[in-house]
């Protein structure tokens, strides 16, 4: 392909991405060094916003909460995703039905899914989960106003909405596992666990690594799920980084755009570090081609 053709074919997409992504991104970086509100020119304040962010305990709490949530959700979704993908892979005629049901929480909007999820625990709304738990334990849990119960339903909901995606990626990876190696392992006397641990998991390592990367990036950005599930997020300390940015930079009465932008920039730096291995592998591929 000639260079001119390449430019002509990629131009519309590149214009869209640069115009609508890079320009706003530049504005965010600019704002992060300013004291500024919407629709007005800002004044340059140097690193003040960054210092404010790094010394603000509320930001520290948001980081700890988000990182903790990311770790828990990623570990649980990978393990459960692997187990479910293995079981689904062994299904015959039931497979489309089961996959269809499992996909439901992936295709509905996260915020809407979280609303439905919150109703299971909301005694105003019948609260079927509350009711069943109360029958079993006799206790009444305050899911929305107590710190750890609230964290528990947030984590459960994020797992609920992430699980189908991770499960499907692993299921796709399982299709590539060599049947001969599996049979050979069986003849050599490897049990079920041995086959998973020594054959299947090593051969889908790439897919698992990628699933970890995607789910990490997505959980770090958790926002939608918290709107219905954590009405007391600020008071309890259950704010994610994204919710914190929203609360300081957009919500009425608190439009500290400079601080919000500085936090966005810091988050981007974290994400770049996480993406570094993927970036390197793309570059390596380009060098080989």
């Amino acid at each position: 392909m000639r260079r001119r053709e390449f430019v002509a074919l990629t131009l519309p997409s590149v214009l869209v991405m640069f115009g609508f992504m890079l320009v706003p991104l530049y504005r965010t970086v600019e704002w992060s060094f300013e004291r500024v509100s919407y629709g007005q020119a800002g004044t340059f304040v140097g690193l003040q916003n960054y210092l404010a962010a790094l010394t603000e305990p509320r930001f520290g709490r948001a980081v700890v909460f988000t990182v903790g949530l990311t770790l828990v959700v990623t570990v649980v979704t990978i393990c459960l995703g692997y187990l479910i993908a293995t079981l689904v892979n062994g299904l015959g005629r039931m497979r489309p039905l089961v996959l269809g049901i499992l996909l439901v929480s992936y295709v509905i909007p996260h915020v809407v899914g979280a609303v439905s999820f919150s109703w299971l625990f909301d005694s105003n709304f019948g609260g079927v989960a509350n009711f069943l738990l109360g029958r079993l334990t006799g206790g009444d849990v305050l899911w929305f106003t107590d710190l750890w119960p609230n964290r528990l339903i947030i984590a459960l909901n994020v797992i609920w909405s992430m699980l189908p995606f991770v499960m499907l990626m692993i299921l796709a990876g399982l299709q590539g596992v060599s049947r001969e190696t599996l049979e050979a392992a069986q003849i050599d006397g490897a049990g079920t666990l041995g086959r998973h641990w020594h054959v299947i998991i090593p051969s889908i390592r790439g897919v698992l690594g990628f699933a970890v990367l995607i789910s990490t990036m997505d959980v770090l950005r958790t926002f939608d799920n918290l709107i219905p599930l954590a009405p007391q997020a600020v008071g309890l300390g259950n704010e994610s980084i994204m919710l914190y940015i929203y609360n300081v930079a957009f919500r009425e009465g608190a439009e500290d755009l400079g601080l919000g932008s500085a936090i966005s920039v810091l988050t981007i730096l974290i994400i770049l570090v996480l993406l570094y291995p993927s970036i390197r592998s793309i570059l390596k591929e380009a060098k080989e081609a």
Partner: protein
């Protein structure tokens, strides 16, 4: 296999050994059935749990308001459509539904038109330029939304396009463009290059070839990318919450704003949830093949 057929036929030593193998297999076979039953039960339980929130919402939306908020919860009731009728009559739900659909459709069509040629070029022009674009797309896909959406809010107010469906669609096209081009590029990469060359030798220009040879071959890939961009446009909450106000509000934003309101309004949110999600659940069942293909080839690499 051969051990099974020879095991019962003689007394020679190797055959004895084979019979022993078969004998040892039996309990293991039984163990395998137990495992299968346990696995099946686990999978069934997972399906129930994964579907439960939605089922409860369907039930809440078809009860009377008093039953819906009763404590302890009501499991058996006579279904009624009151919440749906109220939703339709007392709110602008149909307007929000139309907005959601318009945004999702515009996003899908434009994203594909813009993304297809770019994805094709990226799959056929190896080197650092392509790699650079793909890396940029990967980084854009991972960006925290607020880093681009808050400036978009500021810019859209300055330009006077705040709270319009096309501004929201434009934002979503850009935000989802990285995913679109990665996905389509991976589908293009599976089409052998010899095909392009053959068509070019036959006198097609690059664009003709793209239109007459590649697009028809890319059918499943385009469908997959289309379903995903449609879903992304349809699902988006954060961007829509920030870039819209009253006239171009979408259903997810509407449902979220109903939360702090009165009980009947809360029940209307349940009805809205059911109306919004039944079509996408239909998509999940009918188009799962394409969703799986997309998550396989597109997501695994990008």
């Amino acid at each position: 296999m051969s051990t099974l057929t020879t095991a019962d036929s003689g007394t020679a030593r190797p055959l004895d050994a084979a019979a022993e193998v078969v004998a040892r297999r039996l309990p293991r076979g039984r163990r395998r059935t137990t495992a299968a039953v346990l696995g099946g039960l686990f999978l069934a339980a997972t399906c129930v749990i994964m579907f439960a929130p939605f089922l409860w919402t369907i039930m809440a939306s078809t009860k009377t308001t008093r039953e819906a908020f009763a404590n302890p919860p009501v499991f058996l009731y006579e279904p009624t459509a009151t919440a749906f009728v109220d939703l339709w009559q007392t709110t602008d739900f149909y307007l929000y539904l139309i907005n959601t659909l318009v945004v999702a459709v515009i996003t899908t069509v434009v994203a594909l038109l813009v993304g297809l040629p770019c994805a094709y070029a990226l799959s056929r022009f190896p080197g650092y330029v392509s790699a650079g674009l793909l890396i940029l797309a990967l980084v854009f896909r991972a960006l925290p939304r607020f880093a681009v959406v808050l400036p978009m809010y500021d810019i859209s107010r300055a330009l006077g396009v705040y709270d319009t469906t096309y501004a929201l669609a434009a934002a979503l096209i850009a935000i989802n463009q990285p995913f679109t081009i990665w996905l389509l590029r991976n589908f293009f990469a599976e089409i052998p290059r010899e095909l392009d060359e053959a068509a070019m030798v036959d006198g097609c220009t690059r664009l003709q070839m793209l239109r007459k040879v590649m697009i028809p071959l890319m059918g499943p890939g385009i469908l997959t990318a289309g379903i995903f961009t449609f879903l992304f446009g349809f699902q988006e909450y954060l961007t829509a919450a920030i870039l819209t106000d009253t006239t171009s509000k979408t259903v997810p934003v509407f449902i979220a704003t109903q939360l702090g309101q009165t009980l009947p309004m809360l029940q209307q949110a349940a009805a809205a949830t059911v109306l919004l999600t039944i079509p996408v659940i239909g998509i999940a069942f009918v188009a799962q093949k394409y969703l799986v293909a997309g998550l396989n080839s597109g997501a695994v690499k990008g």
